[in-house]
């Protein structure tokens, strides 16, 4: 079963990468002309995909700190898996937002000519720090395994491991303890950093007074909880296929533990959404209520009701309630259904991100503006074009392939902990 899923994921990623390449070809030959966003709805799928991936990354990373900082015993074997998942998502997020820029090759201006009044400049600083932190932390986490693979392994993988070990040879207990200490320090730095950069993305939207749909103190908090929910769900789904499943009972317990965390986070995230929706709708102030009405009852109502609420909250909640929550018979394997529920949460969370970005932009700033002048991009409706979907598909596939290759080549999960090595 798991072998089949692995093959299926490879297949999807390779096909997605191939199909997506055509989108990338169009992106670099036609720029932004084949996209549906424009002057009045300036942001579209790629921005939504960016906050989606960066949320997955932040959530997965924050769960890794449960291992390295809080030392949660149940999760100790998946610390590296969480870190590596976070890394793959970070790469997808950065590429997604980079492709969205009108002048993508000027991106370094954000780092070298920042404006610290702009949340987006802070993103540049924080993502760079996060990128460095995650690389260093990941390297320390797999250092000993790399050295051991280099010693005992054969052929290419040993050579690759030796290369990545960067000349480090010390696998003594003292060195291992030093690694654990370093990981604790890095993880401890990582917690506020992840909260800052993802709360920061929420603030990037939240501070825009011109967009009442975003302009709320709850926005950064909802971003964080959403990141934990979706990132936690992704990690749980990934763990089912690539995680340490040799000890069946232990693995089952771990999946249930993760399932419970995800369930709580999904419900809490939904609670925040309900609060935003009800408080926004009640007074009926048009600028605040119209985006919500469009989200709930507009032409794309199914994105909220079917994809997000039905498949992303209700169904996973029912599955998780009936599998992860009941105690007792831990011999019964519930890992599969839990992973499936978490996969649903992960995939459908893109709907949440789209429902943040797009409804916030669909209200004409001045009533009647939509009829004042016509031209491409001078409209208040948005549906991603095939080219936009293909580019996002490519980005997602790239992230998945990065993960799959890394999982194959790096000691992310020890082979001896896996049922099928």
């Amino acid at each position: 079963m798991k072998q089949m899923i692995k093959r299926l994921v490879w297949l999807i990623a390779v096909i997605g990468f191939g199909v997506g390449l055509y989108g990338m070809y169009l992106r670099f030959t036609t720029g932004h002309r084949m996209t549906d966003y424009g002057s009045y709805i300036p942001w579209g799928l790629w921005v939504a995909a960016y906050i989606y991936f960066i949320g997955l990354s932040a959530g997965s990373f924050l769960l890794s700190t449960l291992v390295y900082v809080v030392k949660v015993k149940k999760l100790e074997k998946i610390g590296k898996l969480a870190l590596f998942t976070a890394f793959g998502c970070l790469i997808a997020a950065l590429i997604s937002i980079w492709l969205d820029l009108g002048h993508e090759f000027r991106v370094t201006r954000v780092l070298f000519h920042p404006n610290f009044q702009s949340m987006m400049s802070w993103m540049g600083v924080l993502y760079s720090s996060y990128f460095l932190l995650i690389v260093v932390e990941l390297w320390i986490a797999i250092r000993v395994d790399l050295i051991e693979t280099a010693r005992t392994g054969r052929g290419g993988s040993a050579g690759f491991a030796k290369l990545l070990a960067l000349g480090s040879r010390d696998t003594s207990d003292a060195a291992r303890q030093a690694d654990a200490r370093k990981l604790k320090i890095l993880g401890t730095i990582g917690v506020p950093l992840a909260i800052a950069f993802h709360g920061g993305v929420g603030a990037l939207f939240g501070v825009i007074a011109a967009r009442p749909h975003w302009n709320s103190g709850l926005t950064p908090i909802a971003f964080l909880i959403g990141a934990l929910a979706s990132g936690g769900a992704l990690l749980t789904a990934v763990n089912y296929v690539w995680g340490p499943d040799k000890d069946k009972k232990q693995f089952n317990e771990m999946m249930k533990f993760l399932g419970k965390i995800v369930l709580a986070l999904v419900l809490f995230d939904f609670l925040l959404e309900i609060a935003e929706i009800l408080v926004g709708l009640y007074p009926g102030v048009p600028a605040e209520a119209q985006p919500l009405q469009a989200m709930l009852f507009g032409p794309y109502w199914y994105v909220f009701w079917v994809i997000h609420f039905g498949l992303g909250v209700l169904l996973p909640a029912i599955i998780l309630f009936s599998t992860a929550v009941p105690g007792g018979r831990s011999d019964r394997s519930v890992a599969g259904p839990i992973a499936f529920a978490c996969l649903l949460v992960t995939v459908t969370f893109l709907a949440v991100r789209l429902n943040i970005v797009i409804p916030g932009l669909i209200n004409p700033e001045i009533p009647g503006l939509e009829y004042a002048f016509s031209g491409p991009g001078l409209k208040f409706t948005y549906m991603p074009t095939a080219m936009e979907w293909m580019v996002s598909l490519w980005v997602a596939s790239l992230g998945i392939l990065f993960f799959l290759l890394g999982e194959k080549l790096l000691p992310i999960v020890k082979p001896e902990n896996r049922e099928v090595a």
Partner: protein
């Protein structure tokens, strides 16, 4: 009722004289402002069109649309027209959010964009409560025809520089763009294109810091309104309603 003691044919002469006087002062001692009299606007959109022509605006980019509003029900129906240039805010949200330090407020009040610095993230477009900024995606009017005629490639002169539309990758393609109050014309002593083409003499322009100027007089009118002041943007562009 006449607001100020001036004959219609004297308005333009006075604005031009005001302009010459303002240009003799150092930049930081003048503050360009625009007042639009909605009572006099007939909704002809000559300003919109002249702005497109003056700044060589491509498809999808517009600096001064005229928004129509219908008031009342038949037979008591009226229309009002709201030309919407850049508000050149005192506290511009677009400047605050720019991650690349590519846009700023000049000493004379104009919000400038450096097209060579703008990375095209469009955060400023999202932040502007007036939709005054638009995104140049790189279209040409001749798209779909065998070739792009030279006149579509000829430069505009925004902010006093030459910006030819060389190809679809070079600035101002890929940038956020907006009304400049035609500062390239103004600094040569010519009124903005929207002002000179307004058939109803409904758009006024001048130096708000010069108490003798027509614009300064109008800025003291009790009919004066500014758009969305509750946003805390303190717009410079004002309306007479």
């Amino acid at each position: 009722m006449a607001l100020i003691d001036i004959e219609p044919h004297e308005i333009r002469q006075r604005m031009m004289d005001d302009l010459q006087r303002a240009l003799k002062k150092p930049m930081q001692e003048r503050h360009w402002a625009m007042v639009i009299d909605q009572d006099k606007c007939v909704g002809c959109t000559a300003c919109t069109t002249s702005c497109v022509a003056e700044n060589h605006l491509p498809p999808g980019v517009v600096y001064r649309p005229v928004i129509e509003e219908e008031i009342g029900t038949y037979p008591n129906v009226r229309k009002t027209f709201l030309p919407r240039p850049c508000m050149q805010c005192e506290d511009p949200p677009c400047v605050k959010v720019c991650p690349a330090s590519a846009t700023w407020k000049r000493a004379d009040g104009i919000i400038e964009i450096d097209y060579d610095k703008c990375i095209g993230c469009r955060y400023c477009i999202a932040a502007c409560p007036y939709a005054a900024r638009t995104f140049d995606k790189g279209y040409f009017y001749s798209d779909g025809t065998p070739f792009i005629p030279q006149y579509e490639r000829s430069p505009n002169f925004e902010y006093g520089e030459e910006w030819p539309r060389k190809n679809r990758d070079s600035s101002p393609v890929g940038n956020a763009r907006k009304c400049t109050y035609c500062i390239h014309r103004v600094e040569k002593g010519i009124l903005p294109a929207c002002v000179t083409t307004c058939i109803g003499d409904a758009t006024y322009f001048g130096d708000a810091k010069d108490p003798e100027s027509l614009i300064a007089e109008l800025l003291g009118s009790p009919r004066l309104r500014r758009l969305k002041e509750e946003e805390g943007t303190s717009p410079t562009t004002a309306y007479l309603v």
